[in-house]
């Protein structure tokens, strides 16, 4: 990039490392470099000095679309508890007790209503 006074400015690259073929690429940090090929080399020396990996992404920061920090985008206005899975956590244990006939269906229903 060329700035107003004619100096070449380094671009910022976000670095993503994939540790194994079964993993997602995980963001590990960012760096500044004058070109994508140098960004890739610098990412290798800066972020893979100790850890091993199978793949590396570098993404010029200007290609990342982002939300603003203060906006209603993430607002949680109403009760959303019904979307959560909290009611299911006990299922395994209750089902087992029901099968062992130490619990009736009515008791299970009342247990769920309590939680």
């Amino acid at each position: 990039m060329m700035s107003a006074d004619g100096k070449v400015e380094y671009g910022v690259y976000e670095v993503f490392v994939q540790k194994s073929h079964a993993d997602h690429h995980v963001h590990v940090g960012s760096l500044m470099a004058p070109s994508p090929d140098l960004a890739m080399q610098l990412a290798r020396e800066n972020f893979l000095r100790r850890d091993s990996a199978v793949n590396l992404w570098i993404v010029p920061r200007e290609y990342i679309y982002t939300t603003p920090y203060s906006s209603d985008f993430f607002a949680r206005e109403m009760d959303r508890k019904y979307r959560e899975v909290g009611g299911y956590t006990e299922n395994g244990r209750l089902w087992r007790l029901f099968k062992e006939k130490t619990l009736t269906m009515e008791e299970i229903v009342s247990h769920i209503e309590e939680t």
Partner: protein
């Protein structure tokens, strides 16, 4: 020669092999130490960490060569690294020079890496099997140093203005010492005869010149005339006061208590 035991039975072979291993180890250790001196001083933090990472690779390679020497009956790697006198050091003088300018460090590293690549290639089929095996691995790692230094070398040249001027000054300074990196020392003939290294130094030097001329063209630099013979021949244990200073610094902690367990 499959093993250290076999090599030790042939005295002429052993002498030549040991001398070469010292050259390889000392080259890597000395340059690795100089690289590490960039920690906290590079023009940007990315380059700073990269130089340190390269430094650790180089020192790691030195450890490998020192271990081979130890198997051949030399002292333990720490003593070889820290407790040998100046006159026993076999590194090329170019590598012991102070870092000075960043352009100098990049250009020196690049020129050495190209030489090291050619030398390692000629070692991948060495008659000394443990060395051949190591050379294959080390060369894979060095590939990335070479790529890194080449990228910066070309960019500094292409950038023109101050960057190019500094690079030209660096080349001029390097040219005084460059003759010292070629060659395999006093046992050169024997090393090739025994097939410890499979190509004569002269052939590698010619290939180095070809590759370097290409890089100079890419970087838009003029190829300088041939170099003068060197003032000190590091391969024979002749060194500049700059190595004296380097060894003082490098072995400062070791000398406090050489018997300390780490």
């Amino acid at each position: 020669m499959e093993s250290a035991e076999q090599a030790q039975k042939n005295e002429a072979y052993l002498l030549a092999l040991r001398d070469l291993l010292y050259q390889l180890a000392d080259d890597e250790l000395t340059l690795g130490h100089r690289d590490s001196e960039w920690l906290g001083l590079s023009p940007d933090i990315e380059g700073d960490v990269a130089f340190s990472s390269v430094a650790q690779d180089e020192v790691g390679h030195a450890v490998f060569y020192f271990e081979l020497l130890h198997e051949l009956g030399e002292k333990d790697p720490d003593r070889l690294a820290f407790a040998r006198d100046l006159s026993e050091r076999k590194n090329a003088v170019l590598l012991e020079r102070e870092n000075g300018d960043w352009a100098y460090s990049i250009a020196r590293h690049f020129m050495y890496d190209v030489w090291d690549d050619l030398r390692l290639e000629a070692l991948t089929e060495s008659s000394y099997v443990p060395l051949a095996k190591g050379a294959i691995k080390i060369r894979r790692e060095e590939y990335y140093h070479l790529l890194h230094m080449h990228s910066y070398f070309v960019r500094l040249g292409q950038a023109g203005k101050e960057a190019k001027k500094r690079l030209e000054l660096a080349v001029k300074a390097i040219w005084k010492d460059i003759g010292g990196i070629f060659g395999f020392g006093v046992y050169e003939q024997k090393l090739v005869e025994f097939n410890i290294i499979t190509k004569p130094a002269e052939e590698l030097k010619q290939r180095w010149v070809k590759r370097m001329q290409q890089a100079f063209a890419e970087a838009q630099l003029t190829w300088p005339d041939s170099w003068e013979p060197v003032q000190y021949d590091g391969r024979r244990g002749e060194h500049s006061p700059e190595l004296e200073q380097l060894l003082q610094t490098m072995s400062e902690v070791y000398r406090i208590d050489p018997t300390a367990r780490w």
